[in-house]
């Protein structure tokens, strides 16, 4: 599907453009103007001559240039009329932000089907209605009323909910990861979730696809598309609304056992998707998959704290992540280094002991990463009085450069004293997690199943 008019329009008309404080239209205008670059933005509002000091047009037909994308934020009852004008203007794409359609009941659904009738006949790509809009950091497009523009990156975040996206964008603003696309598809009256999924699968800027939704309109179509796309790109999914609602009258065992939540999970698994249980896990896993390569099962853990190492071991075990046995060469190297604490663990996890300075981390990392059947590393750092976080981070970054095919995930645990080193790690695309459990979940996604 050609969605260029949606993701990289040269000319955009905002219908319902306003600078009234507290309005959706104001958010749209600000976002589109702020990130306009070479893009030409036209403001349409018959009731105002100027918005943010820019001259408005009373209707889209008054614009004498061709319009690629029309973004509509007007009351539902006049959307039909506006869309009709857009069709006459021969716009290529439309985003309807306005709510008051199928989500409110039969009257809204009727209105929605009338609007769809228009756009289908005119062969116009339609996003929405009832959505946040579309953000495409790589082309500088923010056709949404989100509070911020997200960082550019390689995650495509596609969500049924718009409000969740707003918070994700805000939360990720000071992080090192970013997005190739952020969009909420709303009622998916025109372009559907499977359409977007298929598009993201082919999009060169997207490396990882992250999904949030509560329900699917056409489960089978989603399943078929997801199964294809997941062969080439990881798809991570967070499904909301898994609580069982009132049970229908039981007619068969299969009927009573096959609750919606179970079937969704089975479908995700069968289609090769990674299902996660929280928004944090969605982002944790996305970050790992964007920054690190995948590997075979069998990893090594290095820690300067016994407790943290034990927790990490437990979580890895629960998730089926195997810890590779140290071979005699690795053991010998560490023993002979003369700098390692004599009480080091001799096993995987390698406990370099709490008073470890950076040299011990370096010895352990160098020895372990060189062992052939250690396919990736989880490196834990608890914050002791003598710990050297920045030096440790640099050693890890250096090891990563030498072994680009072995994923490294870090668990630098702490706050004030640790944060500068975490920032350094993440700037160098080493994903860090504050808790070994989060790191284990992220690592699980990095391990190939077969």
């Amino acid at each position: 599907m050609k969605l260029n008019s949606i993701f990289n329009p040269q000319t955009v008309a905002i219908i319902g453009a306003t600078d009234r404080i507290g309005s959706v239209g104001r958010g749209l205008v600000k976002n589109l103007l702020d990130n306009g670059r070479s893009r030409k933005i036209y403001l349409i509002n018959p009731n105002r001559n100027k918005v943010f000091g820019i001259k408005t047009f009373s209707e889209i037909q008054s614009v004498d240039k061709k319009i690629d994308l029309a973004v509509i934020a007007v009351p539902a009852k006049i959307v039909f009329k506006i869309v009709k004008q857009c069709c006459e203007k021969k716009v290529k794409g439309i985003i309807i932000i306005s709510s008051g359609f199928a989500e409110i009941g039969t009257d809204g659904a009727l209105l929605q089907s009338k609007v769809i009738g228009l756009t289908n006949r005119a062969n116009i790509a339609l996003v929405g209605p009832n959505c946040l809009g579309v953000l495409r950091p790589s082309t500088g497009l923010n056709a949404s009323f989100a509070p911020l523009s997200p960082n550019n990156g390689a995650i495509s975040l596609i969500s049924q909910s718009g409000a969740l996206l707003d918070s994700v964008i805000d939360a990720s603003a000071d992080k090192s990861y970013g997005f190739s696309t952020v969009l909420s598809y709303g009622n998916e009256a025109g372009i559907t979730l499977p359409n977007f999924l298929d598009w993201a699968g082919k999009d060169k800027k997207t490396k990882v696809i992250s999904l949030y939704f509560e329900g699917l309109k056409n489960g089978r179509e989603f399943f078929n598309v997801a199964k294809e796309v997941s062969k080439t790109k990881p798809i991570i999914v967070l499904k909301g609304g898994k609580t069982k609602t009132a049970q229908k009258a039981v007619s068969s065992h299969t009927g009573s056992l096959a609750g919606a939540a179970e079937i969704y999970s089975a479908a995700f698994k069968q289609a090769g998707l990674i299902e996660v249980n929280s928004l944090q896990e969605l982002l944790d896993v996305s970050k790992a998959l964007v920054w690190q390569p995948k590997c075979k099962n069998g990893i090594g853990i290095i820690t300067n704290g016994g407790g943290a190492g034990i927790l990490a071991t437990d979580y890895c075990h629960q998730l089926g992540i195997k810890l590779t046995k140290l071979d005699s060469i690795t053991r010998e190297k560490i023993n002979k280094s003369k700098e390692m604490h004599p009480g080091w663990s001799k096993n995987n996890p390698i406990d370099v002991v709490g008073d470890a300075l950076s040299n011990r981390y370096k010895i352990a990392i160098d020895a372990l990463i060189k062992q052939k059947d250690v396919n990736g590393l989880m490196i834990i750092q608890t914050m002791q009085v003598m710990t050297e976080p920045i030096k440790n981070a640099k050693i890890i970054i250096n090891a990563k450069k030498r072994y680009p095919n072995k994923p490294i995930v870090t668990v630098f645990m702490g706050g004030k004293l640790t944060n500068p080193s975490i920032n350094l790690l993440e700037k160098n695309k080493i994903p860090n997690y504050s808790d070994p459990m989060r790191a284990a979940h992220a690592f699980k996604a990095l391990i190939n199943n077969n």
Binding site: R220, S251, T254
Partner: protein, 202 residues
């Protein structure tokens, strides 16, 4: 609507899904003839398609291994409705089911039977149609897989036969206009896996 015993048997036979030897018998003599042909032990059941748990109303009598018990059981059940006689077979009880899901269409289910399915929900699902690899995964991902593999010296059950039933049922639910189907129990041992009871909703 729920299919009768004969209709169910016919549909399963069409898909070559192995059903235990059994027939509706209208007289004691017919029951005796069945035993003559197939031997003891046998099970008597009432054929009331609308009842989910036949055992709850005393509609299933197991371990009938002599003439005396057969007569007693016949007298008891024939008052309640049509009587079905079946060869009693041992093994691990499993449930294999399928249904049309409103979101995803045909789906298929596998699990340990009886209380394990209901109380522990130890079942796995896939969208149908499934392939051989998916059938294998369905079997191996339930918690009770250890029991199937042979626990504490028990012989392992024939997993290939179970895979086969899954594949056949997957074919059935994909092609037929039925809503839900329970094959419950499916009895499996080291040699075979056979459907003992089926409930089919159209």
């Amino acid at each position: 609507m729920i299919l009768s015993f004969d209709q169910s048997k016919k549909l399963l036979t069409k898909y070559k899904i192995p059903f235990v030897k059994g027939e509706l018998v209208e007289s004691k003599t017919a029951a005796f003839n069945f035993v003559k042909k197939y031997g003891y032990p046998v099970v008597l059941k009432i054929d009331l398609p609308n009842i989910l748990h036949k055992t709850d109303i005393g509609g299933v009598i197991l371990d009938i291994n002599n003439k005396e018990k057969l007569i007693l059981s016949w007298d008891k059940l024939s008052k309640l409705g049509k009587v079905l006689i079946q060869k009693q077979i041992g093994g691990v009880g499993l449930i294999i089911g399928a249904k049309k899901d409103p979101i995803f269409g045909p789906i298929i289910m596998f699990g340990l039977g009886g209380i394990f399915a209901e109380a522990l929900k130890d079942v796995s699902f896939r969208l149908a149609p499934i392939n051989k690899k998916e059938a294998k995964e369905m079997i191996s991902e339930i918690k009770g897989y250890k029991i199937l593999k042979g626990y504490r010296g028990q012989e392992p059950v024939n997993l290939l036969k179970l895979e086969q039933i899954l594949l056949l049922l997957s074919d059935l639910i994909t092609k037929e206009k039925i809503q839900e189907i329970d094959l419950n129990p499916v009895m499996a041992d080291s040699k075979k896996a056979i459907i003992v009871d089926a409930k089919i909703l159209i």
